[in-house]
Symmetry: C2
Subunit: 160 residues, 2 copies
């Protein structure tokens, strides 16, 4: 049971239970151990974009490296230092720095906490009903239809 | 000339020139003196939602109190204390607290810095091509058509 209280229009993220699970099939879920997401947009009634407050323990990844066909993404670092990995290489992002990943830009990204302290950042992503996410480094494609995700290999066969 | 540098996918907000103007007609622009917005989403190539880093000097307002027909809005307080005003009254938001304003919820909101120190927060809003914003406390309606705003009185006559 989620304890989120909206108190009208406001929300204390500390009142939201963190989610530590992922829908990635094994073994692609392993690097995400140590990731905790607090959903902020949903308890506030927002539907057009999602907002999460994310904490990565040392060593944890935000996701597998990916890019979205339909959805813009944005992140803003609040605490700690996190490494952004894209086709251009690696860059360390400190608190107060932002990054953005426009829909359709075929440059996979993810965040890795290579530091010894937890990292906290805000992430915002558009909510498209239908979506394709392509993964840069692994044989996986995610397809969202009517809001539900399914995974396939890059040749279109179901991931087993 | 905007100095924003994206360096691939990342952005230092300090490299973005703050915007201190507003499109409100006089005298409704006056309370916004002391508001500075740094646009983060646009220089990162995001189109589906806007992201601004906003600073309010003591006494400054975020906007006239309003609600949107089509666009979700979200804010997250980074520094200082800001007062959220809605139909429910006033609430002081501290760093780390969030607020959200779903599209179509007819409860006008704005933020006022009633403290003696600057306030900084992130704001996120969907980009709808067509939009109506209704103002709670003044005789003003904003209509956006194909991305351009115009203001009318509540009876539909042009604002003079």
């Amino acid at each position: 049971m989620d304890k989120a209280k909206t108190n009208g229009c406001s929300l204390d993220p500390a009142s939201v239970n963190p989610r530590t699970t992922t829908i990635y099939p094994k073994p692609f879920d392993a690097p995400l151990q140590g990731r905790a997401k607090r959903t902020l947009g949903d308890p506030l009634g927002l539907k057009q974009f999602g907002v999460n407050l994310v904490t990565l323990a040392p060593g944890a990844w935000s996701s597998q490296r990916h890019w979205h066909h339909e959805e813009d993404e944005f992140i803003f670092v609040l605490e700690g230092q996190v490494t952004l990995v894209t086709d251009q290489g690696e860059e360390v992002l400190k608190p107060g720095l932002a990054a953005g990943f426009p829909a359709g830009k075929a440059d996979g990204h993810h965040l890795i906490n290579r530091s010894k302290k937890p990292v906290t950042y805000l992430e915002v992503g558009t909510r498209a009903a239908d979506e394709v996410a392509e993964y840069s480094d692994i044989d996986l494609v995610a397809r969202k239809e009517d809001g539900r995700f399914m995974f396939t290999c890059k040749n279109g066969e179901p991931y087993k």
